[in-house]
């Protein structure tokens, strides 16, 4: 406390002196002039307000930084959600188109393939019969 008072008084051009024993004072000590004493008093009486201002400032800074982090995370989340939705939609479309392509060769056409196979078999068998029969 004394150190604080001394440094403050020295920096702001207040004056003080030291009183020794048996000098015109009831006890030895430090004598501050009115300016130095007023500076010390005013400094001390406003220290709470100064602290409040500093705390509010630091809290505002921190709050703003956290808000930025939160906003950035929310933006990233929105982007990822949009990317996910886009990928799913495009994959669904791709699946539908590929399914349409596959359906052209799907079991739905199996009767055509079945009929074609029988016809081919008949033709080949007849051709073979004629070929071998012709060589006799």
């Amino acid at each position: 406390m004394i150190l604080l008072m001394l440094s403050t008084a020295y920096a702001d051009e207040g004056k003080f002196t030291l009183l020794g024993e048996n000098e015109p004072a009831p006890f030895e000590g430090v004598l501050f002039d009115p300016t130095a004493t007023s500076k010390i008093l005013s400094e001390y009486s406003t220290v709470d307000m100064n602290c409040d201002i500093e705390v509010e400032y630091q809290l505002d800074i921190q709050g703003t930084e956290f808000k930025l982090q939160l906003d950035t995370a929310a933006i990233r989340y929105q982007s990822l959600a949009a990317e996910h939705k886009l990928m799913v939609e495009q994959k669904d479309l791709e699946i539908v188109k590929l399914q349409e392509t596959i359906k052209k060769q799907s079991p739905l056409n199996k009767w055509w393939w079945y009929a074609g196979g029988i016809a081919s078999g008949v033709v080949i068998t007849y051709g073979a019969y004629r070929a071998f029969d012709g060589k006799r």
């Binding site: 004493t37 007023s38 001390y44 201002i53 703003t64 933006i75 188109k97 392509t101 051709g127």
Partner: protein, 127 residues
Amino acid sequence: MNVVTILQFAKKNWKEILIVICLLLVIGKMRYDYSQLESAYVTTQESLQNQIAGLQEIHKEELEKREAALEEYEARLGEIEVRYEVSREELEVLKNNKEKEYIRQFTGNPELFIENIETVFGFKYVE
């Protein structure tokens, strides 16, 4: 060349004709399969192109939003700095006023000055 001639030709060369027909069938099937594969490839390509375009758009929007958030952050920081400086200046003015008030008390109202010292620091005044 009439139909009879054609039939005679076909009867005479039916094996070669059959081979050619089979080859044509195989080629047709191959081309059909190829077109199916090409269709699948085009579908996948279109899907990927749409995905790329969509992702670029999303990325662009994200960058714009980030930029806006950063601007808002900087603006808010500026406001905080201004408010802080104003508060500091007001406190400095208050401190100076108090200082002047204490000096006035010292000369005009010493009892109050002593009382202030006792109140603020808790020191005991000795005559």
